[in-house]
C-alpha cells in the first residue's frame, strides 16, 4: 500500500485515504471558449488522455482526510510518487521532477 504525501495536510498517509481522480492539468474551457469550440476539440477535451508510460501528472483526492484535491507526479511504471502539489501550482518541469527524484 502506497504512502501518499498530502500537500494540504503536509503528511504522508496510506493510500486507503485517497482516491484517484484522473489526469491533471486538463483545464475546463470557460463559457466563451466552449461556445467557440468545435465538436472535435470538445471531444478531445472530454475524452482524449495522454496515457503516459513514465512520469504522469495526475489528480488525487484526500477523500478520507482533508477532503482536498491535489496533483501528483507518479511514475506509471514503478508506481512511485515523485511529488505532490496543490492544484493552483503549475505542472513541475522535467528538471523539477528530476530534482525531486534525487531527494
Amino acid at each position: 500500500m502506497l504512502l501518499i504525501h498530502c500537500p494540504h495536510c503536509n503528511e504522508e498517509r496510506p493510500e486507503l485515504e485517497f482516491a484517484y481522480a484522473g489526469e491533471a492539468h486538463i483545464v475546463r474551457p470557460n463559457e466563451a471558449e466552449q461556445a467557440e469550440m468545435s465538436d472535435a476539440d470538445w471531444s478531445k477535451f472530454m475524452f482524449i488522455r495522454d496515457n503516459i508510460r513514465g512520469d504522469h501528472a495526475e489528480r488525487w483526492w484526500h477523500a478520507h482526510g482533508c477532503n482536498m484535491f491535489f496533483n501528483a507526479i507518479r511514475n506509471t511504471v514503478t508506481d512511485k510518487f515523485t511529488m505532490t502539489y496543490k492544484v493552483c501550482q503549475k505542472r513541475p518541469t522535467e528538471h523539477q521532477i528530476k530534482v525531486a527524484k534525487n531527494d
Binding site: 500500500m1 496510506p14 470557460n30 466552449q34 470538445w42 484535491f69
Partner: protein, 986 residues
C-alpha cells in the same frame, strides 16, 4: 520410543508423548514434532499421491517448501483444512490428519492408472485432448478432470473460526530468524528503534536448529541461540514473533504478516482468533529468508524416501529422527557431505555418496574415507526401485558405462541451493544471475530493504551472522566453527543410459511436471519461460515452485539454447505460502463484512416485522406485510391506503448537502441544469445534475433557505459521488466562487407523508409555519417546528398526492415518527416501503436515476427538456448536450408501456423489438426500465427506453420472453392523474 527416533538428538521433548492419527491409524510422536517428523520417526515415508499421475509420494522437504506431503487436518466442529504441509504442521495430542487425492486409500489408489498411462499425459494433455465437442466440457471433461486431478476437497461448510487483524509500525522489520535475522535483530535493537523479528516456524533459529554441532563464538549453536533470543525477548523495543509468515511485501515497505495463533493447540474451541494478520509499515526491511535446497532431476527421483539432503539433516538435528537406516546420498554440491557426515556420526549407515563431479575437495574425500563411506565420483543415479518406499538405487558411471545396484531405504539429494527471492521480488527489487551459485540473487533494491544471509547468496553461518549484523547497523565479525559450505555444479541433464522418453525425472513434484514435459513445451514453440510455466504448469502448484523453478529454468534454457540469465525468471507473487481466506478477511465477516447503514427510524420498522432491502449500503424498509400477506398484497394495500388517505415513509436515506456562501446560487447554476437565480427563499425546485459528458448523473429537490444557503437533496445511492463531484468542480474549476459544501445526510431524519390527509395530520403539530394551501403551496419550503422539534419542511410529492417531507434532527427522527404514527391512526395511517414508493412514482412517470437512466441518457432522452435552462450560458454538461451524437435522430427515449394483457407485469430489463417475427438475432430497439402492478389503475404499467420512442407513441412493440411474446403499446410515461390535480387537495 519409535523405531527411527534418535535419543540425544534434536530439540524435541521425548518425555512428552503425543498420540495422533494419520489415515485413521494411530501413531505416537513427541512434543516439538511436526506431522512429517513424527511419521518419519514411525518409519512412514508415503504421505500423499501426486496431482496428475497419482504416484506414491513421500516427504521431500522439512519446511514450508514441501511439495508432496499435503494432508487434510480435521480440528473438529466442521473445521477441516485441506492441503496442509505435513512438514509445517505442528503435532499435538489428538491430531487427526488424512492423506489426499487417493481412493480408496493411500496404498491402493485407483487413480494411479494415470501413472501407467503417463505416456498419454504429457504437457498440455488436457488442452489438446479435452477440446471438442464443446458440449462435452460441462458433463464429461470437467467432472473427469476435477475427479482425477486435484488436491484435498474444499470444506463444505463456512469456516466457523474467527480471525483477527491489526496494523503495526516499526523502524526495522526482519523476516526470518535464522543466524542472519537474529544477528540483524541484535544489532538493530541496540539502535533503539522498534524492531520486529518474525519467523514462519514455531521455533526460531532457522538452519542453526538443523546443525546443532556448529559453534559460534566458542558456544554450541543452540546455546548461542538461546542466549541471543533471551536477550532479544528482554529488549523492550524488540518484538519477536514466531509462527508468523511474511506473506507479501507491498509498496512503501508495507509487509503482511500472517500469524498462526491456535492451530498447534489441541482442543481449541471456536471463539479465540485462529490467525491474525499484521499489516506492518516498516522504515527498513531486512530480508533473511534463507535458501532452499534444489532437488536433482533424475529418473525415479520422486520415490518415497527420496528427499533433500538438508531435510534429512533437519530431521536428525532438529527432531532427532533418522530418515532411514541406510541412507544413500546423491549430490552435485559439497553441502550434502555435511548432511551425510552428520547422519553417519549418528549411526546411520551411508552405503554410498554418488557425486556427479569427477573431483571433489580432498577433505571431503578424507572424511568420507574415515567414516567408511563409499564414494562414487563422476557418477549418477540412473534409476530407483521400491514400490511405496525406495529399496535400492542404480549407480551409473558414464565414463565406462558400468552400473551397480546399491540397497538403501532412503536417498538424500542436493542439486545446490536457491536463495529465496520471494519477498525481495514482491518489492520489485532487481535480481541478477550468479554463475557460481547457478542461481539468481538480489541486485538493486527498490525499497529501503536489504537482503542478508543465504537469501542474498551469503552462505555459511559466519557469513550470515556478519551480513545480518551489518544490516542491523553493527560491525561485529563472528568466529564460528562450521562445515565449509563449499561449492557445487549445476547440470541441466544428468547422465543416464536410459532413453529420455522412458525416464521419469520430476521437476515439479506437486504438479507432476517432468523434464520431458518442459522439453516438449519448448519443442512445441513455447520459448518464453512464462509460457513454459503456464503450458507445463511448472511452479503453479500451492508450493509455487519453491523447489522446482530453477531446475525448470535450466532445462528450458538448455532446450532453447540460451544462457539462463537471458531466459529470465518467472514472477513471484504473494502470498509466500498458502494463506487462509480467514486471515485475509480478518474481522470483515458476517455482520462486519460490510457496514450496514441504518436510519434513525430503522428500529421501529424492524419491530413491525418489515422486509428490508439493501439500497447502496443502506438497508431500507421494502414493504410491511400484515399477517398472511405476500409482497404483492402488501404493496397493493400500501399503495391504496396512501392514495386514499395517508401513507408514511422513511426517506432519511436521501443524500443531503448544504451549499452555502455568497456565490451559492452561482455555483448551483453551474452544477445543475435548472436556473436557480429565480428560486425564492422559502421555495424548492427539482434539480437535475449532468456529468460533463451531458448524461444524467443525479437528481433531487433543492430548497432555498436564504439568498446564500441551499438545502440540496440527492438520490440515496448518489450522495457520496454528488458530493465529490461538487467538491471537485469547486476546488479545481470554479475556484473563484466563495462557497462551502457540507454533507448533512446523517444530520437529518426525513419523514415523507403522502395522501389526501397529510396536511390534516401535521397541522396540529407544526409551529411557526402557515400550512394553508395559499401560504404553503406545492414546492414550498420553510423552517419551523414540528412536535416541538426544529424542522425544515418541504411540500413536495414523489407520489402525486398531497405530500410533505419533514426534515428533523436525526436523533428526534424516531420520536417524531412515532408521534405522527399514533396521531395518524384516525386516518388509518399506513407505513410503506420502497416498493410502494417506486410504484407510486412510476404511476406518475417520475424517473429513478440509475433505474430509468443508465449513464447514457440525456435530459432530452428522459423527456425532461423543461429541466434544462436555455438561458444559462454555462453549466456542467451544457456543451456536451450539443455533441453530434447527443442531438442525432434515433436516440433511445423514455416512454410508457401498457401491455395488451393488463395482468402481465413485464420483467425489468426485458428487451423490446419492433417485429417479433424477424429472424434471430432480433434487432432490439430498447428495454423495460421499470415495471409494476398499479393498484390505482387496476393493471400493469411500465417505463422503457426505446429507440425513437416518442415518435412511436401509440404503436405496438413486442417483448419476447421464454415461452411467450408480450405485446405492449407505447404511451406517455405518466399513467395516473396526468394533470396533477390531486396535489391540490384542500
Amino acid at each position: 520410543m519409535t523405531k527411527f527416533r534418535r535419543p540425544g538428538h534434536g530439540n524435541v521433548d521425548v518425555s512428552k508423548t503425543l498420540n495422533f492419527s494419520f489415515d485413521g491409524k494411530s501413531y505416537q510422536g513427541v512434543q516439538g514434532d511436526t506431522l512429517a517428523s513424527a511419521l518419519l520417526a514411525n518409519g512412514v515415508h508415503l504421505m500423499g499421491r501426486s496431482f496428475k499421475y497419482h504416484r506414491p509420494r513421500g516427504v521431500v522437504g522439512a519446511g514450508s517448501e514441501e511439495p508432496n506431503a499435503l494432508v487434510a487436518v480435521d480440528r473438529g466442529q466442521g473445521r477441516i483444512t485441506p492441503n496442509v504441509r505435513a512438514t509445517s504442521l505442528e503435532l499435538y495430542d489428538g491430531l487427526k490428519a488424512n492423506s489426499q487425492n487417493r481412493w480408496p486409500n493411500l496404498k491402493t489408489d485407483i487413480g494411479a492408472f494415470n501413472n501407467t498411462f503417463s505416456m498419454f499425459f504429457p504437457a498440455g494433455f488436457y488442452n489438446k485432448t479435452f477440446k471438442w465437442p464443446a458440449s462435452f466440457w460441462d458433463k464429461v471433461y470437467e467432472p473427469f478432470i476435477r475427479n482425477m486431478a486435484g488436491l484435498g476437497p474444499a470444506p463444505e461448510h463456512p469456516d466457523p473460526d474467527n480471525y483477527a487483524s491489526t496494523y503495526g509500525h516499526c523502524e526495522t522489520l526482519i523476516v526470518g530468524a535464522g543466524p542472519s535475522g537474529i544477528a540483524a535483530a541484535l544489532s538493530a535493537a541496540r539502535n533503539g528503534g522498534r524492531v520486529i523479528l518474525c519467523d514462519e516456524n514455531p521455533e526460531l533459529g532457522g538452519s542453526l536448529l538443523s546443525t546443532p554441532g556448529v559453534q559460534i563464538e566458542g558456544k554450541f549453536a543452540l546455546d548461542w541461540l538461546a542466549k541471543s533470543l533471551e536477550k532479544l525477548r528482554k529488549t523492550e523495543n524488540v518484538r519477536v514473533m514466531s509462527r508468523t509468515t511474511a506473506i507479501g511485501y507491498f509498496h512503501d515497505n508495507f509487509v503482511a504478516l500472517a500469524e498462526r495463533l491456535t492451530d498447534h493447540i489441541p482442543g481449541v474451541e471456536i471463539g479465540p482468533a485462529r490467525e491474525k494478520l499484521h499489516r506492518i509499515r516498516a522504515g527498513k526491511v531486512i530480508l533473511a529468508q534463507g535458501a532452499i535446497e534444489r532437488p536433482l532431476v533424475f529418473n525415479g527421483n520422486d520415490r518415497p524416501g527420496v528427499m533433500l539432503a538438508s531435510s534429512a539433516q533437519t530431521y536428525l538435528g532438529k527432531y532427532g529422527v533418522a530418515v532411514g537406516n541406510e541412507v544413500a546420498v546423491f549430490t552435485s554440491h559439497d553441502s550434502a557431505y555435511e548432511a551425510a557426515f552428520n547422519l553417519s556420526d549418528s549411526n546411520i549407515r551411508i552405503p554410498a555418496i554418488v557425486d556427479i563431479r569427477e573431483d571433489i575437495r580432498t577433505d571431503l574425500k578424507e572424511q568420507a574415507e574415515q567414516r567408511g563411506i563409499d564414494l562414487f565420483l563422476g557418477s549418477a543415479v540412473s534409476k530407483t526401485k521400491g514400490k511405496h518406499r525406495i529399496k535400492s538405487i542404480e549407480v551409473f558411471y558414464p565414463n565406462t558405462g558400468s552400473k551397480q545396484m546399491i540397497g538403501c531405504d532412503a536417498l538424500i539429494m542436493s542439486g545446490g541451493w536457491t536463495p529465496s527471492l520471494h519477498l525481495w521480488s514482491h518489492s520489485k527489487g532487481g535480481i541478477k544471475w550468479d554463475a557460481d551459485l547457478a542461481a539468481y540473487i538480489p541486485d538493486q533494491a527498490n525499497e529501503n530493504c536489504v537482503s542478508v544471509g543465504a537469501c542474498n547468496g551469503d552462505f555459511g553461518v559466519a557469513a550470515a551472522l556478519n551480513a545480518g549484523t551489518k544490516a542491523g547497523g553493527g560491525r561485529k565479525k563472528f568466529n564460528t566453527n562450521e562445515f565449509d559450505f563449499g561449492t557445487g555444479i549445476s547440470l541441466d541433464t544428468l547422465p543416464n543410459y536410459i532413453d529420455t522418453s522412458k525416464q521419469k525425472a520430476f521437476v515439479d513434484f506437486q504438479n507432476d511436471v517432468t523434464e520431458k514435459d518442459i522439453k516438449l513445451a519448448v519443442r512445441e514453440g513455447f520459448k518464453s519461460i512464462e509460457h513454459v510455466k503456464r503450458y507445463t504448469t511448472n511452479g503453479m502448484a500451492t508450493d509455487q515452485g519453491k523447489t522446482s523453478n530453477l531446475n525448470a529454468l535450466q532445462i528450458a534454457a538448455k532446450a532453447v539454447d540460451q544462457p539462463v540469465e537471458k531466459v529470465g525468471l518467472t514472477t513471484f507473487r504473494p502470498p509466500y505460502t498458502p494463506t487462509t481466506f480467514g486471515a485475509v478477511a480478518g474481522y470483515r465477516n458476517d455482520q462486519l463484512f460490510e457496514v450496514t447503514r441504518k436510519t434513525p427510524i430503522d428500529p421501529w420498522a424492524e419491530a413491525q416485522k418489515v422486509v428490508f432491502e439493501p439500497v447502496g449500503i443502506w438497508r431500507r424498509a421494502w414493504y410491511f406485510p400484515k399477517k398472511g400477506e405476500d409482497m404483492h398484497q402488501a404493496v397493493a394495500r400500501e399503495c391504496k391506503a396512501t392514495r386514499e388517505s395517508l401513507g408514511i415513509f422513511d426517506a432519511s436515506t436521501l443524500g443531503k448537502i448544504e451549499v452555502v456562501g455568497p456565490d451559492a446560487a452561482k455555483f448551483m447554476n453551474l452544477m445543475y441544469t435548472n436556473p436557480w437565480n429565480a428560486l425564492k427563499t422559502g421555495s424548492c425546485r427539482y434539480g437535475l445534475m449532468l456529468r460533463e459528458d451531458g448524461y444524467i448523473y443525479d437528481d433531487g429537490v433543492v430548497g432555498r433557505l436564504a439568498e446564500d444557503r441551499f438545502h440540496v437533496t440527492t438520490t440515496t445511492g448518489g450522495a457520496p459521488r454528488v458530493y465529490r463531484h461538487m467538491e471537485d468542480y469547486l476546488q479545481t474549476e470554479f475556484t473563484e466562487l466563495d462557497v462551502w459544501l457540507t454533507s448533512t445526510t446523517e444530520q437529518w431524519a426525513v419523514i415523507a407523508l403522502n395522501g389526501p390527509n397529510a396536511r390534516k395530520l401535521i397541522e396540529p403539530f407544526v409551529e411557526g409555519i402557515d400550512l394553508s394551501r395559499e401560504n404553503f403551496p406545492h414546492m414550498a419550503f420553510r423552517e419551523g417546528k414540528i412536535c416541538g422539534v426544529p424542522t425544515r419542511l418541504f411540500r413536495v410529492s414523489f407520489s402525486g398526492e398531497l405530500g410533505f417531507e419533514i426534515n428533523i434532527p436525526a436523533h428526534y427522527g424516531r420520536a417524531v415518527w412515532e408521534m405522527l404514527f399514533e396521531a395518524g391512526q384516525q386516518y388509518d395511517i399506513t407505513p410503506y416501503g420502497t416498493e410502494t414508493m417506486h410504484v407510486l412514482r412510476a404511476e406518475k412517470g417520475f424517473i429513478i436515476v440509475g433505474q430509468d437512466t443508465d449513464g447514457t441518457v440525456t435530459p432530452f432522452d428522459a423527456g425532461m427538456p423543461w429541466a434544462v435552462s436555455k438561458k444559462k450560458k454555462d453549466f456542467v454538461g451544457k456543451r456536451s448536450l450539443a455533441r453530434p451524437d447527443l442531438v442525432a435522430e434515433g436516440r433511445k427515449q423514455l416512454v410508457g408501456l401498457l401491455t395488451e394483457d393488463p395482468n402481465v407485469v413485464l420483467e425489468e430489463g426485458a428487451q423490446i423489438v419492433a417485429d417479433p417475427d424477424q429472424p434471430i438475432p432480433m434487432d432490439m430497439i430498447g428495454h423495460v426500465t421499470s415495471s409494476y402492478w398499479s393498484e390505482a389503475l387496476g393493471r400493469s404499467i411500465a417505463m422503457a427506453l426505446v429507440k425513437d420512442g416518442v415518435n412511436l407513441t401509440d404503436t405496438d412493440v413486442y417483448i419476447p420472453m421464454p415461452g411467450q411474446t408480450h405485446t405492449a403499446r407505447i404511451t406517455a410515461p405518466v399513467f395516473y392523474d396526468p394533470k396533477g390535480e390531486r396535489l391540490n387537495v384542500v
